[in-house]
């Protein structure tokens, strides 16, 4: 019995310190790799979702401008002249992704603006033929500087004038 106890309590041939550290290192590297992949994938899905939302916002703004130009636009009115000049220097800042309802500091905002509305006149016709519309939506991802947004979607559209 004492021989058996001696054998069980013995430390000859046991897993040594180097082996233990190497084993833990391997497990740690595998875990870190897996968690990094999961975290990256999750971030990419969020980024794609914000991109799609920006497209929806931009398209809605294009439709609004097309509607205004087609049936509710008067160059003589101050408000409409201001609209025609564009808003590239005074973009509308709107919420793109609230990222959870409990905190507001992590919200992602986008800037929506449109360029100058150009009336295009073909040489063959006497009156204006269409309006050129340019809309831009810019935003910065959560780990980027909002002052210098790196992500952008642009829309180029046309709209016929009133009566067409």
């Amino acid at each position: 019995m004492s021989v058996m106890l001696e054998k069980w309590r013995g430390d000859k041939g046991s897993i040594d310190f180097v082996q233990l550290i190497v084993g833990l290192l391997i497990i740690g590297i595998a875990s870190i790799g897996t968690l990094s992949a999961l975290s990256y994938g999750y971030g990419q899905l969020d980024q794609q979702m914000r991109h799609r939302k920006a497209i929806e916002v931009g398209r809605s703004w294009v439709e609004y401008l097309q509607g205004r130009l087609h049936c509710d636009f008067d160059k003589g009115k101050f408000e409409d002249a201001k609209l025609a000049n564009g808003t590239l220097n005074s973009a509308l800042r709107t919420l793109l992704d609230d990222r959870g309802t409990t905190e507001v500091y992590d919200d992602v905002y986008c800037k929506v603006s449109h360029g100058k509305l150009f009336p295009m006149n073909l040489p063959e016709t006497s009156s204006m033929d269409w309006w050129e519309i340019y809309v831009k939506v810019e935003w910065a991802e959560p780990d980027e500087d909002e002052q210098y947004p790196l992500h952008k979607v642009e829309f180029f559209a046309r709209m016929v004038p009133e009566g067409y």
Binding site: S14, I15, Y42, R59, E63, Y64, C71
Partner: protein, 228 residues
């Protein structure tokens, strides 16, 4: 330093305790890895479900936008109006391509459960919701509305353009009658892996504003005169 005699290394074979401990440690490692892989799989399933939702949501909004751009008239009737579910029935009128003095109508009908939108009785997408849902998977349509400009204060579920109501007060009737906001919201529920735990839910809303230009053209005026 003589490594063979150092206490840091030993190669005298396995003792009973060593073997037991090794088996225990390896079992814990395998258990941990299994849990990580199961969590990874659950994450993939949820991501896939969200992509399925996105595909259907974008399909519905795109198709409706396209149909409205070619429409000459429409009528909207709210059939379900609640705090959680809001559904509209939409009848879209087009000019008959063969007989220009006649019109044809397409009827868009939503259903919350099962989450199906039909156009003249035909599902918009025969593969949604998925035929073989996963563990406790349920898709619901929580919102399918078409609202005239200025009558919906919050666009797209977020205050994207919070001054729409204010802006609509200075717009003329021709613009307000022809500009609509499409809002389509899907709700996804998935049972938890362990019974008793709360289910995982996900809501997503898809929206688009559309200007129905044919409503401000002489053709519509003529159709209305003919109808009278």
């Amino acid at each position: 330093m003589n490594l063979t005699k150092s206490r840091w290394s030993g190669d005298s074979g396995w003792t009973f305790i060593e073997a037991t401990l090794s088996v225990v440690i390896m079992s814990i490692m395998v258990l941990g890895l299994t849990i990580v892989l199961m969590a990874f799989r659950e994450h993939l399933d949820r991501s896939w479900a969200v992509r399925v939702m996105d595909q259907y949501g974008n399909d519905v909004v795109e198709r409706l936008t396209h149909e409205l751009r070619n429409a000459v008239d429409l009528s909207v009737r709210r059939v379900v109006s609640g705090r959680q579910i809001m559904l509209d029935q939409i009848d879209i009128v087009y000019l008959d391509p063969f007989y220009l003095d006649r019109t044809i109508t397409k009827r868009w009908r939503p259903s919350s459960k099962p989450a199906i939108i039909t156009v003249d009785g035909v599902p918009l997408d025969p593969y949604f919701p998925p035929r073989r849902p996963g563990r406790g998977e349920v898709y619901e349509i929580r919102r399918f509305t078409l609202t005239p400009y200025g009558q919906d204060g919050r666009q797209g579920g977020t205050a994207v353009w919070s001054n729409e109501v204010f802006d609509s007060q200075t717009r003329n009737e021709a613009f307000k009658e022809a500009t609509y906001l499409i809002r389509f919201k899907l709700h996804y529920t998935r049972s938890a892996v362990q019974r008793g735990n709360p289910s995982w839910t996900f809501d997503k809303e898809y929206f688009n504003r559309v200007y129905i230009r044919n409503m401000n053209l002489p053709i519509r005026r003529k159709l209305r005169e003919q109808a009278q």
